[in-house]
């Protein structure tokens, strides 16, 4: 009898644990309120494809920290890396479209879908593109010591021409955005150079600092706080903190002036419209927040708040550009 009682107790305890665990799983689709504002009742998970410390990770963590001023909702940032950004995307699509899972993504995610020939019906059309939040301009970076010795963008191009393709440009990976940007610059200026992958922005900066690479194709952020100088920047006008760095337009290449990588948020198709509007409201508020502005300014990133179809158009043009350059490089069948 006693034994049976103990057993019963244990069983109920175990079941209790299951039930407890159940609550934190977003299995039950929250009934979408047809009218009225959306009110989150559970923590909202933002999944990102980069590890802690990556560009979108830092941006997302700061974003949710600021967002706490505008909402009582709790946000959890989850890093799901690997699989060429697809692991994260898949995780988002595997979870229910109840608004409690958001994909914090960047341009490289769209590149990866094209480069690895993943199903666009799933990995692009499967998303509602909520908001683009950042525009991170392309920047050509060299050593400060070279600048002080009289080197500038024209000097780089001249040097490239003289060395007949031996000038080394550091990019994170071949067949990625920074490689494309470098190719566009070479095409526009009519020179050849060698793009060498250095895995990440900081490591690329280190390669230029140490002299292993001559030029870094990066973002202004890579130069900030280091003995590096931005020789050209893709921006409508000169940027705060980088006043001595000319824009591509000033240098005579207006066609390069819009090259940038973007970051933004997306949710699975079928997510309640009320949730999307709620989140876009938060994006608009954070967009105006001084802390968000200051963080972006320090890293020469332009904060953005581009929603829905306008964002989707940017995604489409990213796909087009990626496909074009991958074909040019012979990396796509």
């Amino acid at each position: 009898m006693k034994r049976a009682l103990v057993l019963l107790l244990l069983v109920s305890l175990t079941v209790g644990v299951f039930a407890g665990g159940q609550q934190e799983q977003p299995a039950e689709a929250a009934p979408a309120a047809a009218e009225g504002p959306w009110v989150p009742t559970r923590p909202i998970t933002i999944i990102t494809h980069v590890g802690p410390g990556g560009g979108m990770d830092v941006a997302t963590r700061l974003f949710v920290d600021i967002a706490r001023e505008f909402t009582d909702a709790t946000f959890v940032v989850e890093n799901i890396t690997g699989g060429g950004t697809i692991n994260a995307s898949r995780a988002v699509l595997d979870r229910p479209a109840d608004g409690y899972t958001i994909f914090g993504m960047a341009m490289s995610n769209v590149n990866s879908v094209v480069a690895n020939e993943f199903d666009r019906g799933t990995f692009i059309d499967g998303y509602h593109w909520i908001a683009k939040i950042q525009r991170d301009p392309a920047a050509v970076i060299i050593r400060k010591s070279d600048r002080d010795a009289g080197m500038d963008f024209d000097g780089i191009i001249e040097d490239a021409r003289r060395r007949g393709g031996r000038q080394v440009w550091a990019v994170p990976v071949l067949g990625g955005n920074k490689h494309f940007e470098a190719l566009m610059i070479w095409q526009a200026t009519g020179v050849e150079a060698t793009a060498t992958p250095f895995e990440s922005g900081p490591l690329g900066a280190a390669a230029v600092l140490g002299g292993a690479a001559d030029v870094q194709m990066g973002n202004p952020f890579n130069a900030a706080g280091r003995d590096l100088w931005v020789a050209a920047i893709a921006s409508p006008e000169r940027m705060d903190g980088f006043e001595d760095s000319p824009t591509f337009a000033e240098l005579g290449f207006p066609e390069l002036n819009d090259e940038h990588i973007w970051r933004g948020f997306a949710v699975k198709q079928g997510t309640p419209r009320a949730m999307i509007e709620w989140f876009q409201g938060i994006v608009s508020q954070v967009h105006q927040h001084p802390r968000w502005r200051a963080f972006n300014a320090e890293n020469a990133i332009m904060p953005r708040a581009v929603f829905d179809d306008d964002f989707r158009k940017i995604v489409d043009s990213t796909m087009e550009k990626t496909e074009f350059w991958l074909r040019e490089l012979g990396m796509l069948d």
Binding site: G51, G53, A206
Partner: protein, 498 residues
């Protein structure tokens, strides 16, 4: 020098506030606990605490994270010694000798050596960081891809001493690891290799589940095959040795600590390579090299000291250049970035309190590791007291849930299990498994740096750059010297017989 002491004094002033002490202790405690769980790497432990730091002052946030970083580095060795399940990749080297020691009953000794080596190594790394951060960072920048390649070759030569009598088998194992490393998206242009249409293979075989499989599951399968009921570890000596005992390994700890710091400063190389190379060096220096791999305290000391000191080394490029040298350093960087702080040479001038507060907190973290470690060791060693019929099933479930935690998915669990079978078969037939780990750890860096070097400077890079040449020649000497020495002593012995 005076400047440094004054600044450091300021740093300690910040540290001796109740809040800072509490956060440091919390970080160390959480770090050791998480680090001891297989699958939770130091970078994950630090990332878990990261959100807490956003609302703290920058320096307090760093105190918490640095405590967790150092704690997790030590915690990894606890499960490596006790159940042959390295909590972190770098702790794999600690398991080489730590686990055999525990198995033969010297569990207290093994825990004690790993704890003290970790703390002293950590202090060495911190001191080097404080004194030489700026010049060392400049040296690190002078490292071109050809030097990184030479470093990986140097790392690969450690396999020569790893197999002992079965060196041929060790070679097969390391090449096997290097081959397995090529699976997945290639680092240069993301070309898919040997994925056979399987998306999950894109990321290749991640190192943590592979190590858990090779070491823990391989050992378990082997033990199951030879299981007899009621079996226990040999009679156990739980007690940690007296302080004077550690003097016997002070040379190993110091050498490995310095070497670990130096290797740690190179972004991307990190603690695991440091541990492998230091272990190899200590084995060569040792009067009892035969004991290495069978339960040598010197081996444990070398592995733990270099692993722990490399954490200090990894902060050199982070603080002096803003370049994160490891996954964990990247998380630390993000905590600073969110506060609008951009590490680099300017930070030392603009924010001396922050920088020296961090240095001071690293000393304090080491002290707390000693305290928490000493108290914890008394408890942890009791794990080996469990009967095997309880211990084995629990190691299995720990390995499974630990692998699952790596990416919150089943894929690493499958990798862990597959490597478990490989580990068992290798172990059965006398092939060492450590070289596989070495191959997987070094493969990517070897490929990347080799191809970068060719791209930048052509084949000339490997003999025209003096540093590369010296390192490559050292690597050759490291392989040839033992063979020649054996020949000579062999001949001498024959000569005497005549």
């Amino acid at each position: 020098m005076i400047d440094i002491l004054v600044n450091l004094g300021g740093g300690f002033e910040i540290m001796f506030t109740p809040m800072a002490i509490l956060l440091c202790l919390l970080g160390v405690f959480a770090g050791i606990t998480f680090g001891a769980i297989p699958g939770i790497s130091p970078s994950m432990a630090v990332a878990l605490l990261l959100p807490m730091t956003f609302r703290l002052e920058p320096i307090l946030g760093m105190v918490l994270l640095l405590g967790a970083y150092k704690g997790a580095n030590y915690g990894g060795s606890v499960s490596a010694v006790l159940i042959n399940t390295p909590g972190t990749p770098s702790a794999a080297v600690t398991a080489f000798d730590g686990y055999p020691m525990a198995k033969s009953g010297r569990v207290g000794e093994a825990m004690g050596v790993s704890l003290y080596a970790s703390v002293i190594g950590g202090i060495i790394g911190t001191v080097v960081l404080i004194l030489f951060a700026a010049p060392l960072a400049r040296v690190a920048l002078r490292f071109w891809p050809s030097e990184y390649f030479a470093l990986t070759v140097l790392g690969l030569t450690t396999v020569a001493t790893m197999g002992g009598k079965h060196w041929q088998k060790a070679l097969v194992a390391v090449v096997f690891g290097l081959l397995l490393n090529t699976v997945g998206m290639e680092p240069f242009a993301g070309t898919r290799r040997f994925t056979f249409g399987e998306v999950r293979l894109f990321e290749g075989f991640s190192i943590v589940p592979a190590i858990i499989g090779l070491f823990a599951l391989g050992e378990l399968f082997y033990n199951l095959e030879h299981y007899s009921k009621g079996e226990k570890f040999d009679k156990l000596a739980y007690k940690l040795p007296k302080l004077s005992y550690y003097l016997t390994v002070w040379k190993n700890i110091t050498r490995a600590g310095i070497l670990g710091t130096i290797i740690g400063i190179f972004p991307g190389a990190g603690g695991t390579i440091a541990a492998f190379i230091s272990y190899d060096v200590e084995k060569r220096f040792s009067k009892k090299p035969d004991e290495f791999g069978k339960g040598s305290p010197e081996g444990v000391a070398a592995a733990e000291s270099s692993n722990s000191s490399s954490a200090g080394g990894a902060l050199v490029p982070l603080l002096a250049l803003g370049i994160p040298g490891s996954a964990t350093a990247a998380v630390l960087l993000s905590s600073l970035l969110v506060h609008g702080l951009n590490p680099g040479p300017e930070m030392f001038v603009d924010e001396p309190e922050l920088v020296y507060g961090m240095f001071a907190s690293m000393f304090m973290a080491n002290a707390f590791i000693l305290v928490v470690g000493l108290l914890g060791a008394q408890l942890f060693v009791r794990v080996t007291d469990l009967s095997k019929k309880l211990l084995y099933p629990l190691i299995f479930v720990f390995a499974i849930v630990g692998s699952y935690a790596v990416t919150n998915s089943m894929y690493p669990v499958v990798v862990c299990l597959a490597f478990g079978v490989v580990g068992w078969i290798f172990r059965r037939y006398g092939f060492p498994t450590a070289p596989i780990v070495l191959g997987i750890v070094l493969g990517r860096l070897a490929e990347m740096s080799f191809r970068q070097a060719l791209m930048i400077g052509g084949i000339e890079s490997f003999y025209q750059r003096p540093l590369t040449l010296i390192m490559l020649l050292t690597a050759i000497a490291a392989v040839v010297y033992p063979i020649v020495k054996k020949r000579i002593t062999g001949r001498a012995a024959i000569g005497r017989e005549d």
